[in-house]
């Protein structure tokens, strides 16, 4: 009947506990009346409850603990010879008369503990006998608990150095030998547990088995506490023996746990000095053992140790810790053919972490680790395991975090090779990490070589990779990425113009391969980076006159020209136009009339040929006008040509209001409010009048088309222009003209067909207030404004 295992177990446990309590009661009575015979009889019966096979480890532990408590009382009784009148030697024999082995051995251990305390026999003899006799219990669970009891009662009685039980020469060895033997036997029993019972319950059994692991591990803890286990003994005896058992037991659960245990319980210094032995065991472990975690923990401990004090670092060098670890990892990976890529890479991550913490100055080590990883990666197909990929990212991020400086990483020859093994998505993620690191640390990349390497690293962002599915790209991500690249370009900087020019050329080379989608993001950065160089050169100009300088503004402008041309081919005419204007302005500042003219030409060509959208045209024409207004490098002829073009295009815009606005904007082209700026009042007036005409035409068209004229906004805007030039002293603009315009506006407003519009009313009102204000201010300006009759 397998009805209800858990319920049955509860029942059995309850029965066991009752049995123990019952017999313990009689045992107590016997103890109180100093009756040794009865005490032995009832204690043996009590211990017989531990012979059960029905309980899970968890429940058995419960039972064991109850018996354990009772045995403490028995031990106290045994100690007092006056009470029972039997010498401890005889007692030691007497308890062995018990017919059942389990109670017999529990009693033997209990008396044995008293025996050692009495010092009537050397501790080592008694311990040896006990550990040997315990072989009689081969049942895994019962054996484990029995031996655990033995370990417990003997703990404070080992003939350790400085212990009161220390005998003649070399008794520490006996203590060690005892614990080692008990450990070995316990581990064997523990390993054997998995073969108990039916196969289908294996999983549950392994879980239960895992619960018992600390019983085994406790022995290692005891070993580590033995005073006499110095480095020498650890190296010569303890570690080889423990490892022998670990390797030989061929059980993954045990091997994993015990390796971890060894690493955790013994001092760091010991590990460092026995690295070779410890690591030598790793490739011999079962392929299913999670060695990577074990080794990671070891390396963690060692790196913490290294971090704890600078004094220990020479030790690391002396024992060649890095070489050994690296070697061991290689062997483990070789030995465990089936280890998934993620495991191998995790190992490399740990090693790398170790290296970075222990040997931060040894970049060659870091590169070695990466190289080993590349080797491993190239032996397997491209990674498609997300966990493995994550580990690779961790591997690549570690040096960045450590050095806070991408420049260091750029000197690692294997770094880009590792990146090659990432899938496109992750490659991009990694590239982003690199860029973010640069941004965060404000790292300046200042040589062409490094720039080359950097672009190699982030090439996933720079151009389309083969086989990348474009459809899958997330627009948002793509924008983020490209913006990041754009920001990155600004971090590539060298104060030395020559080198900087080379950098710019390199960046250009790479970014130009980016294709139509990327260029709009990257080119502006590139252009501004180049413009910055130009301004820098401009500042230095005086110093370098006469020398053969490769980096001259002219040369750079040529370059820019090409870049913008490339961009316009993409096509991205609006952006190209803006950049052209920027360049023209820079050329203006450099006093390079021809260059500036060239750029303007480019801008106009773009306007004519590429910009067809009327809205874009409006924006473009305003940009052109704005830039052109600020140019002072042009001679009269060139300037005329350009302004003529600009006004011409303004008047040819599609919508009347747009025309109007562009035209009145053009008025500024003839009136530069500088000391020696052009001041052609007549042409200003011409522009404004033309604008008025267009505004009128717009009103009429609106009347015809919609039956109502539009708002008077355009007029008010023109009025504002009038006022501006009036104020600036343009003789052509008279108070009367302004007065006339105001009247016109008012008439328009009163027109039946006018549409009331609060915005333009407010605009007009505040314009009028301004005039009032200027009038009341008095002085020259006040007088001037007085001429406007309202």
């Amino acid at each position: 009947m397998m009805l209800n295992g858990a319920e049955d177990e509860e029942k059995w446990l309850a029965e066991g506990i009752a049995g123990i309590q019952h017999n313990a009661f009689y045992m107590h009575r016997a103890l109180d009346s100093n009756n040794l015979r009865e005490a032995l009889k009832y204690s043996a019966q009590m211990l017989s409850e531990l012979r059960t096979s029905k309980l899970s480890p968890h429940k058995y532990y419960d039972l064991y603990m109850r018996a354990f408590d009772e045995l403490r009382k028995l031990e106290i009784f045994f100690k007092d010879e006056g009470k029972h009148g039997v010498s401890v030697v005889d007692l030691y024999e007497l308890v062995q008369h018990a017919g059942n082995i389990l109670p017999r051995l529990y009693l033997l251990c209990t008396v044995g503990s008293v025996y050692i305390k009495s010092k009537e026999a050397p501790a080592k003899e008694v311990l040896k006998d006990l550990v040997e006799m315990c072989r009689g219990v081969q049942h895994p669970l019962r054996g484990l608990f029995l031996r655990s009891y033995l370990a417990q009662v003997s703990r404070d009685k080992l003939p350790d150095i400085g212990s009161e039980y220390e005998g003649d020469a070399d008794t520490v060895m006996d203590a060690v030998e005892f614990v080692l033997q008990n450990f070995t036997e316990m581990n064997k029993l523990w390993v054997r547990m998995q073969h108990q019972g039916p196969g289908r319950l294996r999983e549950k059994r392994e879980k239960e088995r895992n619960e018992l692991r600390d019983l085994v591990g406790k022995n290692l803890h005891v070993l580590s506490q033995i005073e006499g286990v110095d480095l020498e003994m650890y190296k010569e005896t303890v570690l080889p023996r423990v490892l022998e058992q670990v390797v030989n037991c061929k059980d993954d659960l045990s091997q994993y746990y015990l390796m971890d245990c060894i690493i955790q319980v013994f001092p760091d210094e010991y590990h460092l000095q026995t690295l070779e032995t410890l690591l030598g065991a790793c490739p011999q472990l079962q392929p299913t053992v999670d060695i990577k975690t074990v080794l990671s923990r070891l390396m963690d401990r060692l790196s913490n140790y290294a971090a704890s004090s600078a004094d220990v670092l020479p030790e690391f060098l002396q024992v060649e810790a890095f070489a050994k670890l690296s070697n061991a990892i290689g062997k483990v990976i070789e030995a465990q053919v089936d280890m998934p890529a993620v495991g191998a890479i995790t190992l490399y991550v740990s090693l790398l972490t170790f290296t970075l913490r222990v040997h931060p100055d040894r970049l060659d080590y870091v590169d070695l680790v990466l190289g080993a990883c590349v080797k491993k990666l190239s032996s397997i197909p491209k990674l498609d395991d997300s966990r493995a990929t994550k580990q690779v990212v961790a591997l690549l991020s570690a040096p960045l975090e450590k050095y806070n400086d991408i420049v260091t990483a750029l000197t690692l020859s294997n770094y880009p090779r590792v990146m090659d093994h990432l899938d496109n998505g992750t490659n991009k993620v990694m590239a982003m990490v690199i860029i973010q690191s640069i941004m965060k640390n404000n790292t300046c990349i200042s040589t062409v070589d490094k720039v080359e390497v950097l672009f190699e690293l982030i090439k996933g962002l720079i151009k389309d990779t083969d086989g990348a599915d474009v459809d899958e790209l997330d627009e948002e991500d793509f924008k983020d990425e490209q913006n990041a690249v754009a920001r990155l370009i600004h971090m590539l900087y060298n104060n030395e113009p020559e080198e900087m020019l080379k950098i710019i050329c390199t960046v250009r080379k790479h970014t130009m391969a980016g294709g139509p989608k990327r260029l709009p993001f990257t080119v502006p950065s590139l252009v501004f980076s180049a413009l910055r160089l130009i301004r820098q050169l401009q500042g230095q100009e005086g110093d370098i006159v006469g020398e053969e300088v490769p980096a001259t503004p002219k040369k750079i402008f040529q370059l820019l020209n090409q870049i913008i041309e490339d961009l316009s081919n993409v096509p991205s005419p609006e952006l190209a136009l803006r950049l052209s204007l920027q360049c023209a302005e820079a050329a203006n500042d450099c006093d390079l009339e021809h260059v500036a003219y060239e750029f303007f030409t480019q801008a106009f060509v773009l306007y004519e040929e590429e910009i067809a959208d009327s809205k874009a045209q409006v924006t473009a024409i305003h940009l052109i006008i704005g830039t052109l207004q600020r140019m002072n490098v042009f001679g009269v002829e060139n300037r005329d040509t350009l302004t003529h073009k600009a006004t011409g295009y303004s008047a040819r815009l599609l919508k009347k209001p747009d025309q109007c606005r562009a035209v009145y904007a053009c008025s500024h082209l003839f009136w530069v409010d500088d000391q020696d700026g052009i001041k052609d009042g007549e042409r200003v007036l011409l522009c404004l009048k033309r604008a008025l005409r267009i505004a009128n035409a717009a009103q009429q068209m609106a009347n015809v088309a919609r039956g109502s004229s539009g708002p008077v906004t355009l007029f008010v805007e023109i009025l504002n222009k009038y006022l501006y030039f009036f104020e600036k002293g343009n003789q052509q603009i008279t108070g009367a003209a302004i007065q006339g315009l105001i009247e016109l506006i008012n008439t328009e407003k009163q027109n039946d067909s006018a549409t009331p519009d609060s915005a333009s009313d407010a605009f007009l009102a505040s314009t009028m207030r301004y005039i009032q204000f200027q009038r009341q201010k008095g002085g020259i300006m006040g007088e001037k404004f007085e001429s406007i009759k309202l």
């Binding site: 012979r51 024999e93 062995q96 008369h97 017919g99 059942n100 082995i101 389990l102 017999r104 040997e132 006799m133 072989r135 009689g136 219990v137 081969q138 049942h139 895994p140 019962r142 054996g143 064997k188 054997r192």
Partner: protein, 263 residues
């Protein structure tokens, strides 16, 4: 409480006869006998006297008052030990007889016990043996000695060479085999005196299990090889392995038990 002697001892004592006050006892002589008897239960009534010694204490006459007769059997040969078995008893008796005419003799008995001690044997080999069931179970066991004194300890070990069956436990039994009679009338009685668990659970190949069994708690006698052609008592160690289906696999080995001469 009974007196204890060993072979070659002098058995000295006195017999006191005290007639009832004011009466006389007329007799045809008084004698004391020392008898060694073997009594077989299935043959009730038959005693075999293997030893019979007589001392005349008095010539025929009359007794009026209490009279003491000293007696002595010098260096009596008592080769066999007193024994109280299942089917047989070996006893020593002192028998005093007052012979009378016409009326029955007056007879009194006094039992005493004989134990004979032996020095440690000069040759005491270990018992070592490999046994097994083909492809199933192979073990090698060793008992350190083949001859044990009554307070001895059996030390040994069992080494598992091959284990293909699921063992549950292993015991060591001490068995006593008492055989009486001879020929077709032989009666054999086997008793298990001790059941001592040596191992709990299933061992794997290569395990070695220690044996340490103290003999003192058990009521053993020395081995009696051939007592006057009437009976013999032998001891065996029986190693029993029990599997999970409660099948028992065993191997029995004779050991010799002796009474150690304490020095």
């Amino acid at each position: 409480m009974v007196a204890l002697f060993q072979s070659q001892e002098n058995i000295v004592g006195e017999v006191v006869i005290e007639p009832i006050q004011g009466k006389k006892v007329e007799h045809n002589g008084v004698k004391i006998e020392l008898l060694g008897q073997i009594e077989l239960y299935f043959d009730r009534g038959n005693f075999y006297d293997f030893t019979s010694l007589v001392r005349e204490l008095d010539v025929p006459g009359e007794l009026y008052e209490r009279k003491t007769y000293p007696f002595e059997f010098s260096t009596v040969e008592m080769p066999y030990e007193s024994y109280n078995g299942v089917n047989v008893r070996l006893r020593y008796i002192l028998k005093v007889t007052i012979s009378r005419n016409y009326v029955s003799n007056i007879v009194e008995y006094q039992d005493f016990v004989v134990r004979n001690y032996t020095p440690p044997p000069s040759i005491n080999n270990s018992i070592k043996m490999e046994v097994g069931i083909e492809d199933c179970l192979h073990i090698e066991f060793e008992y350190s000695k083949s001859k044990y004194h009554l307070k001895d300890v059996i030390i040994g070990k069992i080494y598992f060479l091959l284990v293909r069956i699921k063992l549950k436990n292993m015991e060591l039994e001490i068995r006593r085999r008492e055989s009486t009679g001879s020929g077709p009338n032989t009666y054999v009685e086997t008793e298990t005196l001790a059941k001592f668990e040596l191992m709990d659970g299933a061992p794997v190949r290569g395990e070695s299990i220690p044996i340490r069994l103290f003999l003192s708690p058990y009521e053993l006698t020395p081995t009696y090889r051939n007592i006057n052609n009437k009976f013999c008592v032998k001891y065996y160690l029986n190693l029993v392995l029990v599997d999970e289906e409660d099948r028992r696999y065993f191997k029995q080995q004779e050991i010799t038990v002796y009474r150690l001469l304490e020095t």
